[in-house]
Symmetry: C2
Subunit: 453 residues, 2 copies
């Protein structure tokens, strides 16, 4: 809740959180989405989400007018004004890099790592100058030369979709092919593993490291994991590991990070620093901030001089469904009616769906599987779908025509199916591509040590 006088204006004007509003102050108009006040925030500052994606607090007072916005034109608010209104003005440290260090490109995309708590308005908002990311991490200058910072957009990762994956991939390919030693992408953590999987498929013949990182606590907090994650990411970016991966804390303390294959990683905890874990695979490497690196997984490509190919053809309309007791397969018909192009089903156990249940999934899958692919991935996360062991599995895979997703994560299968459908409409070819290993997403054998790593 805002202060009473603000709340009563909002109520009178029927303005609700999420509405696009216009605030006039000091002869200037600010437009954006009305945001709720944050705990500990100033109850007298109205928080707006600007079209730039930044949040801004506008202190209410005499002469300030609030009304419904009639314009839908994106509005440009100058950076200085955002400073003035939204947060404490502050001189930023200028980080200077050594041109003799290996050049890398930094691609900040938003998320917690690029956020600050504004202690005046209480809003957590994206830093407007991506250089701020480097502000607290002078150690970076000893490892890499951040030659360029390219910001495609600024979003929390729960708001991203495949268009954003493409935008990141385009910048990464361009920079890798123009001489940079590696690319560091900072990103919100919620869907970081989806983006990592997408880049793994989008960047073909990858010859250099593409390192995604983020943080579980914003950079301006003492307990932030941002600094160490960035340092370890920089270590990987100049290493000889030519893989797409996520580099985040490997343990709850600040001892080391893990570099995890982009197709075999998942956020497994809502808040811990060591939330990202490898699934059905060993970490590519254990990385210490001081530069030590232990390559745990022998299955990794080495840096070369080859050109990285950009291959971002993608079909976004895939539905991910979970099979569970009482789950109603009629939702499949709903998706087909509205034009869905593929399904990823999170099956139980070895890949089951309700078969001889009251609401059997079999006939509905069979009805559509000649035209629409159904890929089954394990909802257990760990382990591998097996199309043969039980009668119900044989019915699903041999009779109803579903495609067994091997040991792919459901999230990875979702991204991969979109990418495969971007390349072919042939059902035979779709099946063949889904069962082909392109980016380490399918392993031949699961190593027991990788379970609950």
């Amino acid at each position: 809740m805002y202060a009473k006088r603000i709340e009563s204006i909002l109520k009178r004007k029927k303005l609700r959180i999420g509405d696009r509003i216009a605030v006039d102050k000091d002869g200037k108009r600010y437009e954006g989405l009305l945001m709720p006040r944050i705990e500990m925030g100033d109850i007298n500052s109205i928080v707006l989400k600007l079209d730039s994606g930044y949040n801004m607090g506008i202190r209410f007072g005499p002469g300030v007018k609030i009304q419904k916005s009639r314009s839908t034109e994106p509005q440009d608010v100058k950076e200085e004004e955002q400073y003035e209104l939204g947060r404490t003005k502050k001189e930023l440290l200028k980080v200077s890099f050594d041109p003799k260090k290996p050049p890398v490109c930094l691609i900040p995309t938003g998320g917690t790592i690029a956020s600050r708590v504004d202690y005046r308005t209480g809003a957590v908002h994206a830093v407007s100058d991506p250089k701020e990311l480097l502000h607290n991490v002078p150690e970076l200058a000893e490892i890499v030369n951040v030659k360029e910072i390219v910001t495609p957009f600024t979003k929390m990762s729960e708001d991203m979709d495949s268009h954003d994956w493409k935008a990141i991939a385009e910048i990464a390919a361009r920079k890798l092919n123009s001489g940079d030693h590696g690319v560091i992408i900072t990103h919100g953590t919620d869907t970081l593993h989806f983006t990592a999987a997408a880049l793994s498929f989008f960047l073909r013949n990858l010859s250099k490291p593409v390192v995604l990182t983020g943080s579980q606590r914003s950079s301006d907090r003492g307990s932030s994991d941002a600094g160490m994650n960035l340092i370890c990411a920089a270590r990987v970016a100049v290493s000889d590991i030519a893989e797409v991966g996520i580099c985040m804390h490997g343990s709850p303390d600040d001892s080391y990070c893990l570099f995890l294959r982009g197709t075999k990683v998942r956020k497994m905890h809502t808040s811990r620093r060591d939330a990202f874990r490898p699934i059905n695979d060993l970490p590519l490497a254990k990385v210490w901030p001081d530069g030590r690196m232990d390559k745990i997984n022998p299955d990794q490509k080495k840096r070369t001089d080859k050109r990285t190919e950009l291959d971002i053809k993608f079909e976004p309309d895939i539905a991910m469904l979970k099979a569970y007791p009482g789950s109603d397969p009629a939702v499949i018909d709903y998706h087909v009616r509205r034009g869905v192009r593929g399904f990823v089903i999170e099956g139980t156990g070895l890949g089951h769906v309700p078969t001889f249940a009251k609401k059997s999934w079999i006939s509905i899958i069979k009805k559509h599987s000649e035209h629409i692919p159904f890929v089954v991935a394990p909802q257990t996360l760990y382990g591998r779908v097996n199309p043969d062991v039980y009668t119900n599995l044989r019915i699903l895979f041999h009779e109803a025509g579903a495609i067994p997703g091997e040991d792919m994560l459901p999230e990875t299968a979702y991204v991969k199916l979109g990418w495969v459908l971007g390349h072919t409409k042939s059902m035979e070819k779709i099946r063949e591509m889904m069962l082909t290993n392109y980016a380490g997403e399918i392993t031949k054998r699961s190593l027991p040590e990788s379970y609950l790593y």
Copy 2:
């Protein structure tokens, strides 16, 4: 594929796998669903799923007729005939129990633990005599007196739904209240954790152990985990732990089992014996087959003489949806149109849904949340939903009216919401009940040691 002569009859009569057919042999008619042949199965034996749930192989030969079944009446095939046709006849060991040992009830419900590979037809099928379960485990007689075996149904667990949970709960409550020391339920593993959660809510004021167990390899295989799981389950059934839980292998070897709280457990691997892991909670106990028991979790109820109450009111129409990049919230409208009563949303990170994304979930949730509950649980599995940290969270929980599911597993939240809706239609009361801890499903504080246990 069956033998050519069978396949050609099936083709001519347009009979397909899953169709209900009738097979006439030796003057007797057998009806059931046509099943596919299993690898290594006899290509000359037609496999039928009988109405009893058992599979049966009927050897094809002169005089055998196959046709479409016109009757939908359930048909009763005598047990002896199933033996004769479907599998090798065999004298079963009679297990004799000592009436001086604590009496327990065994409730076999099907699943791998109650299955055998029929090496003649190749079909994996349920054992027809539940005593077979005890056949290979004479050690049980030294621990418990299995006074009674009550079989409510025989199903693979992917085919179960809430009616089956109720049937099991009714038997368990009746037996516990008539003097048994505990109840052992054998069950398929795919959805074992759903049933465990359901029993946790259905059995109120529980005063004795209710132990669910199963196996990842069928009982007739040398590598089966069935025997040790049953022995450890029996140890728990006569212990003083008055909780519903799952007792399965704790490690890949045969050293010990874990007894895991029914609301805090999940199948985390498709095939390993130690697939069941505690999530956001410590195991109730580590259990060795020789009777040693280490109660790891101090938060557990002790055996008393109180009466267990059966409380199975349940609303089954809950949809479980996952939020992911590009996920389309229009499916919420679809479910509402068809009459769904509640939603469990697997949110990203701390409980996010796409908020300022192109396909924002917020307005659709807000539109319905006054009449239909939306409970958000973490798709990370480990950790806790937090309704406050970020702006997008505050929009979802404070403005759009979703209910934060604390540290409940999505599967547990699904079962709990069905149980809560069985008790009240008041939105206020639903919220209050969802946030009340009934069966250990919400912990106040997550112990770091429980992560990836």
